[in-house]
């Protein structure tokens, strides 16, 4: 008897992600994890999982799966993906109990391009360096460090989902999507001219370039003026850092970014806003607003609180 979910088809870049690896950056291992960790946590909450349970992350193009075990409880949450079960449209952001042979079809997204299929009990995967997050560039995590492939079978920890009430996230509880992203200036803002900093903070100054992925979002638009030769001795970086290479066009580091970089960093997108940025497809217009560290940490605290209260917000379905 089969134990899991069969991948009938999937878009390249469909991966298994959790909240990422902590503790190995000093050896060059990036945190990785979900591009939109908030959506991942919501999906997990809907099926009653611990929030950091690994789930399937999809980008733009969806995927199809067949339930190959007795029964399973899943929830899809994230961007504007359309979900169908056995060809019939089904609600997203809602837990669903499915039975053997059922087909899960996730269509294409347009405006918000990351979604997570959480599975009650989680996937049966051995963590690498403390996490199941897939970092394909380094061949780490997931199944053999690689993205999912058509025909692959994913083993699950629970192959029988108990009958119980299902839950849904009320529309009013959806985080409000933003186009303007808050940043804390620095750590190398002093390597830019006053004009350079103003260029970053102008409204609607940039667009996300097509050459963007989970390592970094390249921006096109006005060039940012810097002081000196535009190189620094490599120092540590985190997702959200806005590096400005010699071209003057910023590059925002995302979940799979290297642990160190050699370009000056004008500012860092705050952790509360980065998941929303990760939802935007290439071509989207973005702008930035500077906030203080205190404001950034207050926003983070509020988001943490919102997540902690999330189980209470869910609606129990009849």
């Amino acid at each position: 008897m089969s134990r899991g979910l069969l991948v009938l088809q999937c878009t390249p870049g469909t991966t298994i992600q959790d909240l990422g690896r902590v503790g190995y950056r000093r050896y060059g291992v990036t945190r990785s994890g979900a591009m939109d960790p908030v959506a991942l946590q919501i999906a997990n909450c809907l099926v009653g999982n611990p929030f950091d349970t690994a789930a399937i992350e999809m980008n733009i193009g969806g995927a199809d799966f067949r339930v190959a075990c007795e029964s399973v409880r899943v929830a899809l949450h994230g961007g504007d993906f359309v979900l169908a079960i056995n060809g019939v449209r089904a609600p997203v952001s809602t837990s669903l109990r499915l039975r053997q042979g059922d087909i899960i079809s996730i269509g294409r997204a347009r405006q918000r391009i990351r979604c997570y299929l959480a599975i009650e009990g989680g996937l049966d995967i051995e963590p690498t360096l403390g996490s199941c997050a897939t970092h394909t560039r380094a061949g780490l995590g997931g199944v053999n460090g690689a993205a999912l492939e058509t025909g692959q079978e994913l083993e699950l920890l629970n192959t029988k989902a108990p009958l119980r009430k299902e839950f849904s996230l009320p529309y009013s509880a959806f985080p409000h999507p933003r186009r303007q992203f808050r940043v804390v200036l620095g750590p190398q803002a002093h390597r830019f001219t006053e004009d350079g900093i103003q260029t970053l903070l102008q409204s609607a100054a940039f667009r996300i370039d097509k050459d963007s992925d989970s390592v970094g979002y390249r921006l096109t638009g006005n060039r940012i003026e810097y002081i000196g030769d535009g190189n620094i001795v490599s120092d540590p970086v985190v997702p959200g850092c806005i590096q400005v290479p010699a071209s003057g066009l910023p590059l925002i580091l995302m979940a799979d970014c290297p642990t160190t970089g050699g370009y000056p960093k004008i500012a860092t997108v705050i952790s509360t806003d980065l998941p929303d940025l990760a939802q935007l497809p290439p071509g989207s217009e973005v702008s930035f607003r500077a906030v203080t560290l205190e404001e950034a940490q207050f926003a983070r605290q509020q988001r943490q609180q919102w997540l902690a209260e999330l189980p209470k917000q869910l609606i129990e379905l009849a």
Binding site: R26, P187, V233, S234, D235, T268, I270, L293
Partner: protein, 250 residues
Amino acid sequence: MSEAHRYAQICFSAVGDCAMLVELGAGIDEALNESVLQLETQILKLSIRGIEETTPAYNALMLHYNPDVISFATLQETVSAIDLNHVTDTRERFLWRVPVCYGGEFGEDLDSVANYHHLTSDEVIARHCAPRYRVYMIGFAPGFTYLGGLDKHLHTPRRENPRLQTPAGSISIGGMQALIAGVSMPSGWQLLGQTPIATYQPDRDPHFLIAPGDAVEFHAIRPDEFSDMQQAAQRGDWVAERSALTGEPS
């Protein structure tokens, strides 16, 4: 880049809301890098609540912290109170003898690097094997080991066209730096050879062999030795010889 120097005062900056960059100076300098590692050792020894992990680099240390547990100001105060002039070095340090198969398919840029410097390929190999390198940083990608101490006659600009893929174990040089690559990655550095050792191996204990502050020496091996050693490394053997390093690496 400007001359390496130490700042009169440690510079603390916020990197977003969950990280602090602690900069001790600018440029690439052994004593400066040593101070970064000493500072990290002292911070780890203090087991400060709220610090999730630390990333040391050439002249700066990043502290990843949870602002719900410790504030930026408290963290800055705690780190400022550490007196680097009165610490005893408790880090275990090792000298690693790393085998390298040079040239040909193992190091596609060996001949062009030799031409660039008007040297023979054998002279490049000899100069690359001569120094004892200091490990300044493990960064960028898993097990990427950044070395200082490259012979100044081998300083070579990076390639105009970066390669989209270079193998794990690539031994390369870029500018004044030398590198051992832990995993396969795109790279614009000049490839001199390849080592069969795995600086990172997920199925081995320990996962990572070399640490910042260690020393590395290279020696040349033949292609047939390379394949035997690579198989051994894949089984989880270290392959590289390790010995204790006493005192400061030179």
